[in-house]
Amino acid sequence: MAINWFKYSSPASFYSLAGKMIPFFTVIAIILLAAGLYVGFFVAPTDFQQGEAYRIIFIHVPAAWMSMFLYVVMAFWAGIGLAFNTRLSAMFASAIAPTGAMFTFIALWTGSLWGKPMWGTWWVWDARLTSELILLFLYIGFMSLQAAIDDPRRADKAGAIIALVGVVNIPIIYFSVQWWNTLHQGASVSVNQAPSMATTMLAGMLIMVFASWMYSIAVILKRTRIIILERESHTAWVAGLQKKGTVS
Amino acid sequence: MLQGINLACVRGDRELFKDINFLLESGGLMQVRGPNGSGKTSLLRMLCGLSHPAAGDILWEDQNIRALDSDFFAAVTYIGHLSGTKDDLTVLENLQISSALAGMEISTEQANDALHYIGLKGREALPVKVLSQGQRRRVALARLLVCKTSLWILDEPLVALDVMAVKLVRGVLEEHLQQGGMVVMTTHQEIDISAASIMELQLA
């Protein structure tokens, strides 16, 4: 029997559903993380070109992928919230932003730590790097705009507009390596043409990608729950939780 | 016909008013009264659709004003605390442009007539920034003379006006009411306007 999704589109039922899912995702995230780190450090061989420095890849690539992916998801939910005036999806979008910004920051940070030994500089103004920086600005813009507006409904709508407008940046980041010839490598880790990369490396990287996924889901669900409580503090169902001592 | 049903207003963590009900019919005047900070301005802004009530509905000709949107706007003129005049434009330009933006283009003669009537003769070509406080207010009020809307919402229209001007505005309002228009207004000054039906709404 299919789950009744409409039921879970109300904050009250989503709240409890999310509560049940969080431990599940947390556990998977921890397991995958442990496995990924083990493969990354102890199974994957040393790269013949880059030496050990390449091990940054196990966080750099997952972080870079998550940073872009989360933005699209955030914009999607924000757009749904704007179009159908559903409270939950807007809250979801606000919950995604900080995690997305964090992954963007990690991608930038690890990238520049990787760049110093490989390219001899912390930072170059190439298209991929620059557009990732722009992505960070987009996240920060979204969050600051929402923070600057006191009324949450207005904040939701304003945030949704800017998130949707910002989506144009994602393809630019993704294709920047093809459009401009840059320092940043594109193909070396590509799945279909990667003989240069050991299978174990690829495996380690993919496990880390899934770990990041699970982590993001857990954290975002948790944050959504908090936002629900913050926003719906006056409603009957939260008062009910309160009486039972289940919400704080 | 303007109707308010169970209107409530919340500002910050304060509930300014709730359960406000009224029915304003053609030719009727509603005076909103109450001390400073009681929510008069907030109510007026709701009535013209600039903000939304925390609870309740506002109906215009039996339809919710949120649904009517610009059809409703075409029937309202709102003059608030802020006069919406541009300091750098002349008195005449201000009147012509603000009318045009409200969907009502007027000729220079019409504009001049209105300005003379409201007591700004000889000031038509001055930029608004050199005018006195009362004269600025008159520029804003001149809009009432040229607009053809039926519902006027006026937030303390008499502020800064001298005795002559108050009398003048009273005349304008009375004529509008006689012709079947409606007026919602606030004021801390005493003014008695004769109208087919007069209603007082006391806040707080």
Partner: protein
């Protein structure tokens, strides 16, 4: 096994600073994010004026929606 001893592991073939710098900051970010969320939760708890654990028992309120 790539490493014969622990110091070799930490030196990362001379790239220790870069590799551990990356992993360290990532760890800080993740821990920081979790702490921020905890903190936000705690503020909320204070606001509600109760100190029960939010996750302890919440089995029955689906019906309240």
């Amino acid at each position: 096994m790539n490493w014969s001893n622990i110091s070799e592991f930490f030196s990362m073939g001379g790239y220790g600073l870069y590799v551990w710098g990356s992993y360290g900051v990532t760890l800080i970010c993740i821990v920081g994010e979790i702490l921020l969320i905890k903190n936000r939760h705690r503020t909320l708890e204070k606001q509600y004026g109760l100190t029960h654990d939010i996750n302890k028992k919440e089995t029955t309120h689906e019906t309240t929606s």
